[in-house]
């Protein structure tokens, strides 16, 4: 977070905001979260998964695409294959680590895109109000009339399988949710004195939104968005699991789970491994988001 609410406020705003603390708001939040053991463990696990996915080619792993008909479905702990092999004899450890690349991108990118679009839409809707607000928020309501899984699958199903289509459909699912949060936060901030002061001192609507409002609304929206990453990871892998995401032989956790489904009678626990990765990432993001929420709630 480079934009802090205090740094972003003008002099007029400084006297009203929670700037009386000796330490800045984000510095306090940062200190509180580093003292939370659960959050730190989650952050460490996530960092480990991210870094290993990022550095996969330099970790000395087996080729994740190289199969072998005579080494199919080895058990966990088999010599040379610490996590066994899949239905085509490919090394599971390598595929799980390489799989993180696509799985994490397809899981996280939609939330980032939706965060940008949703925040902009919500900010405009909340600040400008009137007809523009009605137009944006009523459109958002329509998307709320679909359960999110159904909407994601409907759009993906109509667009056809593919990574880009999965990202698009998940972004469409999350934009309305983030817009709604952003709009309600913005409406709350918009009538505060420092915004009035900025307006009185001649700032235009764009400057007010960018300089005075954005920093104050980003925090809650950011926390909400981090909570969505867990849902997004599960849905993104779910789309590949159904065959609507990436195509074989690409390593991706959801797709691996799908192709290994036929192997559950032969080597059940190897078949369950990709799902365990999705679960780990998803629960860590959820716990981290919870930790962040309580760290930002300075009243406690």
């Amino acid at each position: 977070m480079s934009v802090t609410p205090i740094g972003a406020m003008s002099d007029a705003a400084l006297q009203v905001g929670p700037a009386a603390n000796a330490r800045g708001y984000w510095a306090t939040v940062g200190r509180r979260i580093t003292r939370d053991k659960v959050s730190m463990v989650c952050a460490f696990i996530l960092a480990l998964i991210f870094l290993s996915a990022l550095c996969a080619p330099w970790l000395g792993l087996a080729d994740p695409y190289q199969g072998s008909m005579i080494r199919r479905l080895r058990h966990i702990g088999a010599p040379n294959y610490p996590l066994g092999t899949d239905e085509l004899g490919r090394d599971m450890l390598a595929r799980l680590i390489y799989g993180g690349r696509l799985s994490l991108v397809v899981g996280i990118l939609p939330v980032i895109l939706a965060f940008v679009c949703g925040t902009s839409l919500g900010l405009v809707a909340g600040y400008v109000g009137g007809r523009i607000n009605t137009a944006i928020m009523r459109t958002v309501d329509v998307f709320y009339a679909f359960p999110s899984v159904l909407l994601a699958i409907a759009i993906s199903g109509a667009l056809g399988a593919g990574i880009v289509n999965s990202i698009v459909s998940l972004t469409v699912v999350f934009v309305p949710q983030i817009t709604r949060v952003a709009e309600s936060v913005t409406t709350g901030v918009r009538n505060m004195d420092f915004v009035e002061a900025a307006r009185a001192s001649g700032a235009g609507p764009f400057t007010i939104m960018r300089v005075h409002m954005l920093g104050n609304v980003l925090g809650p929206i950011f926390v909400y968005a981090t909570g969505l990453i867990s849902v997004s990871m599960i849905l993104a892998a779910g789309l590949s699991f159904l065959g609507l995401g990436t195509k074989p032989p690409e390593p991706e956790w959801g797709l691996m789970l799908n192709t290994l489904r036929t192997a559950i009678y032969v080597n059940p626990w190897v078949a369950a491994l990709p799902g365990a990765m999705i679960f780990a990432v998803s629960i860590c993001f959820n716990l981290l988001s919870d930790g962040m929420r309580s760290a930002m709630d300075i009243r406690n």
């Binding site: 009339a145 999110s148 899984v149 599960i234 159904l242 799902g275």
Partner: protein, 317 residues
């Protein structure tokens, strides 16, 4: 109350029309021609044109939407391209099985969720709270389709206690509430129930905590009420919000069942949607999504009305 219900219904009409529009447009964002699935690869231009006229794809979009909506209102969602049967009857038969699954899952998920939530909220910051919230967070974080696979591995593959796939003897149209059928329901229902269980636990825990910290609880205790009576007040105050969350979750279970139904080959609307997608059966895809979305809208309406019925504060606002 009557005025409130009427207002809610009027508010739902534009939503229903927009939902129909989205479902209608879904077919038109598909790359290529909607007919590509039924036309043989070497079909002549003439044949393609004939079919396009037969299905009405040659008319302008707004006209197509109007006609489609008019037919849909009259209960005609067209015919499945793959099977040739009416879409509505296909969808309704499948929805029946999804409702069975959702009800079973709701019974498990809501009971556990309410119990864990109340207990965790009441004994906040004790070990009981920690256990309950850990279960809840695992419930909302688990990829449910994977949990389904793990349950199959444990109870079907390793222990051989319960069947792994299907809906029991007689197939999709012969559901009955006897053990021969219920055996097939257990694993999918448990799998479906974990997310609502987690969400209900988290909601009810937060609600209970909030209510217990309010002044009136202090007053009740000061008045000398026993803890069980205090607890009754807590439940009463938590009920409207908890109900709204449960209603929404029921809607998600009905509409979002595709992944679990695929894992267990449960013959519900999700499995139908899956086959519609992969056979590129667009009328069936459109119809299934429309019916499921309308269910969801209707359920939300019911929740709003029920909430207003038990909490007079909502009607006034």
């Amino acid at each position: 109350m009557f005025v409130y219900i009427l207002r809610r219904i009027v508010y739902v009409i534009p939503i229903v029309i927009s939902v129909a529009l989205v479902c209608f447009l879904l077919v038109h964002i598909t790359p290529g021609d909607p007919l590509v699935a039924i036309l043989p690869a070497d079909a002549s231009q003439e044949l393609a044109q004939q079919l396009r006229v037969a299905y009405g794809f040659d008319r302008p979009l707004p006209v197509q939407f109007g006609l489609w909506l008019w037919k849909a209102v009259n209960g005609d969602l067209g015919h499945s391209i793959a099977t040739g049967r009416p879409v509505l009857s296909e969808v309704m038969r499948a929805v029946g099985n999804t409702v069975t699954l959702a009800i079973a899952a709701a019974l498990i998920g809501f009971t556990l969720g309410l119990f864990f939530g109340l207990v965790a909220g009441y004994f906040r910051d004790t070990w009981i709270d920690k256990v309950a919230t850990s279960i809840a967070i695992a419930g909302v974080s688990v990829p449910h389709y994977w949990l389904g696979m793990v349950l199959v591995i444990i109870f079907s593959v390793e222990l051989n206690w319960l069947p792994a796939v299907g809906a029991g003897p007689g197939g999709s149209g012969a559901w009955g509430w006897d053990w021969e059928h219920i055996r097939y329901l257990i694993l999918p229902a448990i799998t479906t129930s974990v997310i609502p269980m987690g969400i209900v636990t988290r909601t009810v825990r937060a609600l209970t905590g909030d209510i217990l910290s309010q002044d009136f609880v202090e007053a009740l205790r000061a008045k000398g009420l026993r803890e069980t009576s205090v607890f009754r007040h807590v439940i009463k105050n938590a009920a409207p919000t908890a109900m709204a969350v449960m209603g929404l979750q029921l809607g998600y279970m009905l509409g979002g069942s595709i992944l679990i139904e695929t894992v267990f080959s449960w013959p519900g609307s999700g499995l139908l949607l899956n086959s519609a997608i992969f056979q590129r059966d667009l009328p069936l895809l459109q119809g299934t999504i429309l019916v499921l979305a309308l269910f969801f809208v209707f359920l939300n309406l019911m929740v709003d009305i029920a909430q207003a019925a038990i909490d007079p504060r909502i009607k006034r606002s």
